[in-house]
Amino acid sequence: MKRILFYLLFLSIPFSGCENMLDIEPTRVVSEENMWEKMEDTRAALMGVYGLTKSALVDRNAFWLYGEVRSGEFAIPVRRDLRAIAANELNANDVTLETLRNWRRWYAVVNAANIFLERSPEVLEKDARYTVNNHQVDMAQARFLRAFAYFYMSRIWGDVPLITSASEWSFNNKPREEKGKLLAWVEQELLKAAEDMPFRYSNNDIKQQGNYYNEQTSRWDGALATQNSAYAILAHLSAWQGNYPNAAAYTAYIDENYSHSNINYATTANLTSSSGFFYDKHSSQMFGFPGVWAHVEAAFTGHIEELTLAAPVVNKSIPDMYMTKETVVRVFDEAKDQRFSIDTLGNPLTEVYFTNFNGRYPIFSKIKCIMAGVSDPSFRIFSSALVFTRLEDVTLLRAEALAVLGERNGAVDMLNRIRENRGLLPYSEEANGDLIDAIFQERHRELMGEGHRWYDMVRYHKIKNNDPDFVKLINEGGIYWPIAEPLLQQNTLLEQNNYWK
């Protein structure tokens, strides 16, 4: 009997404590209860919003496919998906296009920002280290990134649903918001965000005191959005809307303040060096998403180099996209252009923008950050930053705004700043033609491969109104992308863009 009692005792061991056994703290996810407790959580969440924004931009190289390939100015030797985009066959049955028609990644940015805006105040109460100022700056960035996401989406799809709360316990489908209203809201949001954003982080800016998250300026330069970033997006937004007075005002603000963010004009050598402007992260990248080599952030995909580089720059026989000789010569039509110009014998002066110019495929090699910014062609892993806007872009945008508003001298001044930096003579109507044309030509050359070209073309044709086909495309909404079929099925309140029905 004793032994049985002993045994029963032994048996009873497992009956206790099994409830605890079923509560496992997961090592792979952070549970709802353990989030929003401390300032490391807000940092992780905010970095998450930045990371998602970068992923939305570079997934399947969408940023360059939307912005460059769609212009149709690049020749596409082999990739059928790119060819479809260049031919404006945006309904093509292809996994790349299917992804590009889908806005889900952008709404992940919106959702993450919404959650941040709603939940981060909890940390203020729980973690004494988290200061009100730190929180304010964090909130401003989340607000900025959310507004940026909407601006970006509106350029791609026109009207999109406006969702401004996380609604985690009552997700509901919403119809598309008319783009005018949407962009007006975006503008207000950007202005509101800009109020709390510093020019530079950890630099004792009046808006952000002390070391931001205990890190120094160098950690944040080029990685985070600053007040100048916000104004640059405001300027782009206004220009996109055709509201050039506002565009002029916002660019003027940057013109006055860019030095506070330690932003400079880039020299041609720096711009085109493999370890130059696009390499790493630094303050002159006014708003960008770096892929820092030292941070182990280099990647095989999600960089323009994946599309444009090929032999002899890297080991790849045919580039995904290239610019034909004819196009290059047409765009770079001025002598002594440091970026590209040909001598009388037809030989290029420099190879910084285009390598192998006289070969079968001229390689567009303006951006070529291979590994640690080296010229080793053997391994196609890239470290360039995605620079959404830089001072040259804003300067030319200002030139455009002033030109449209009729402030010709101001516009020419702005244009000449860039021309001068690139070794060109000052603008003259006789040599360079119409001012608007010259400004857009300059944008084309200066910002080639930086994801601006398609939107530039849309703005140009809106101003010029002289290309019936393009104007028709604008008027019929053909400048927007079709909405992915799965999105329409998930949310029955959505309607396909008319042009793509």
Binding site: I4, D23, I24, S31, M35, Y50, E89, T301, I381
Partner: protein, 993 residues
Amino acid sequence: MKEKFPTPYNVGIVAFIFMSLLQLQLFASHKDGYINRSSKLRLLQDTVPKLLDSVFELNFKSVRINSVQKPVADIETSGNATIHQFLKGEAAGLYVTERSGEPGTPNSMFIRGISTPIFSHKDVYHNQPLVVLDGIPLVGTHPFSYMIQAYDLDRIGPENNLLSNIDLSNIESIEVLKDMANTAVYGPMAANGVIKITSKKSVTDNKKRISLHSFVGVSARPQVTTINGDYENRFRQQFYDLYTTSGRYNDDDTYPVYLSDSLNNRYYGPSNWSDSYYNNGLNYGVNANISGGGSRSNFQFSLGSLQNAGIADDAKFQKYNARFQLDLQPLKWLFFHTSINGTRLNRDRNRNLRNRYAMMAYLPDLSAPLAPNKETYDAYLLEQDKGFDNNFSNILDGNVGISVQSGKFQLKSTLVADYNEGFRDLFYARTLMEENSFAANYYGYNQRLVFNNVALYDWKLNDHSSLFLEGASILQWDTHKYNYAYAYKGVNDFIKINLLRFDDTHADHLISRAFPRQLVYKFLDRTRHNLVSFYSRGTYNLQDKYTASLLLRYDGSSNAQPTERWLFTPTLALGWNLKNEFLQDNSLYESFKIRASAGRLGVLNLYDNVAQGPNYTAQIGYTGNVIVPGYNAFAGLVRPYEDGWIGYDMPWAYTDQLNVGFDFQLSKRRIYFSLDAYVKHTKNQPLGIPSLAEYGYAYNLASGMDVKNTGIEVSVGGDIIGNTNRDFRWNSGINLGFNNNKLTALPGGLDEVVIHDRKLKVGERIDAFWVLENQGMFHADAEVPQVNGVTKNYNGITFKAGDPIWADQNGDNRISSEDRVMQGNFIPKVAGSWQNNFFYRNFDLKASFYFNLGRNILNQEMSDRFNFINNENANNMNSVKEITYWEKRGDYGRYPLYNPWSAVNAYQATQDLFLENGSFLKLRQVSLGYNLSDIVGASLDGGNLYIYLAANNLFTLSKYSGRDPEVANYMGIDQGHNMLLPRTYLMGFKLNF
């Protein structure tokens, strides 16, 4: 929020104590009887800690018909290595197919069909049965590592088939448990059925017994037709002749260099690569087993080794197995059992480019494929040899059991440990890939601990009836972990050091010196799962005619949400012995019984994140770069947008199964017949429904998917020529499993949903293909129909001459995904085998056929072949050309010559042009044996000697135009990359004395 300890179980504890007290009283009153009984010791082997799984086992053990048709001794002669291979076709209702002939690769088994749709590798894990070895529920790998993998190919790590840890020479029986009467006792892990493996018992007669089994054989190199660049060039030229005028489709069209230069001997010369790629392989196996001892203490020890070789790339699989078993009875009432089974697996893997590139997550320039020329291919193989790929696993399965027995009361306590670890250390030299070396180190383990307590009471109610009571608690801890690192571009090809130091106490154990720090990627991950189960069961037996068993269980899983942690499931099983009822005096019927069971079992969540509900994770990456952990070198935390939203109140999924069956055996010709019919309805399953896109989520993990599997299983056999002639006997047996699945509900009342390019529709199968129907080809632009001025188009792209005519299902003159139809299925409707054994004197000849009927295969290999315009230089996985690209495969004549340049993607795989009948019949094994026991038996002290010759995979009958209808992937797609099943020949002997 957390549910308290379930109240019904509190009642259970009281009942348990009551039962125990009852026993104490009985103990006192039956003391004499106890002493008498104890003098006659029970068989020690009862202490082997196995669960008594079935009511039928308890009451009608003698009349049970084996679920696995072939005796283990016969399966053994095939020389195979894995449980999947052992059981292929051997049990009605168990579907196993060898998706690759590469030896030792992971495989899957499906018992009674699939109850969760399969979209990717990880969904296969959801459908796997539980494998139990001597009461040890074996733990396998966990699919969580796919999180860091850019391609859904091999899981990282050694990917050895861990279910090759048994040596058949040690095995007494293998059973496939399918219905609730058998499986309920194993709990939620058994929701997809159980494979139960029981080892041989040790001897108890104080004699030493030695048995020896050994075989040696070859895998025969297959005969293939090779092609060269000239052949491929001529194939392509047909299209150029048809659709181009100048040999170029447009200005940008580039003809691949390797085909355009007919003077290039590497591509245009002899295509003799197959001499270096294909090979004959050596197979061997040896196992020795010694057993000794008496009834109070005995042991068993065995050692074995086995090699299976593939027919290409020198692929090999080796296993070394050691097993020790000890039974002791130190006191009359105390029983002790322990067994340890250790296995080492080594595998030489394939050298496919795609597997390598997928692991590296990097595609080099693909414009110059491997050349079909032997010298060039040999040179390439030499570069392979500069590196290494060490791929091995260690498996340890052990248990220790104590059991106390006093009278009719028995307490058993078992501690079970199952552990397996896998290693893969590899290095690829720089010369192999554009000056970039690559190193990777993987170490991972899977571990399971189970503490199992069972109380049994055999209560004899009266002369006619008895009640067998059982109560148990089972605690189980599972852990899966891996450390993985890989790096590119080492300093040279001589330093191939490990990236991870094994000793992780060093502060710098993660820092590599031979590879650039910026190109070293490191991952650590771990996931755990705990399971707590209680059950009680009462089995009532009346007059050996009727039996009824009720099992009630409570299961709590740490992967279930806190509010829904516990699930109560009952199972009722009934049996009626017709032989005893009506046929007592009928000598024709040896046995006849009818069985019925109905029950419910919970279905576990595979991932721990479900338990957390809404959570935050680091899913920040993008296509092709899924491993992004954050931003600006700070970790990021965001909602799991890629995996999908997980809300609260996710209930347990469960499976309800109703089974009726009957079995009889006749005394004449040893005829047996067994039939089972089942309905298995798996309900409330979570499914990631594509939704909430405007909240950033790819899916909403919602509960409510119901899948119904129905089927009939028959096994029948007997002597066709039997006792009439003493010298010659022929017996034959067939087993058939019919299975049908149907989706009966989707979450949220949805009617249909498209996930991963497959459609799920309520009322349809869950394994159907979703394809466009071909109806010919447009021969001229004018043939393309116009409706209201709109020309028929494909997603807006107008059809032209040379484009396929796809059926316009909805008649809108526009072909889109709405015109794709659900067709066919990849899980066969009928699978089974047919066994024939002939005996003449001491000779035996055995032949077994394996078949799948009512199954389809999507021949993607041919789609890729014809889609050369899109695939050439596309720089994605589909455009990787293996050396086997230079092999003539498939039937080109089946396919019309569409315009391969067309933007409608004329040769896309998702059309019924590439969907084929995948039914087949295979002669799986023929063996010829001779029993020498009569001759040598005397000198072996009554032992046996048996010698045999065997051949496997001799021929296949099938309409499939590809290589082998068995070799398609887990979604029924034949991409043409998997190795063929080898035809093997072997000879061996079995000796015991």
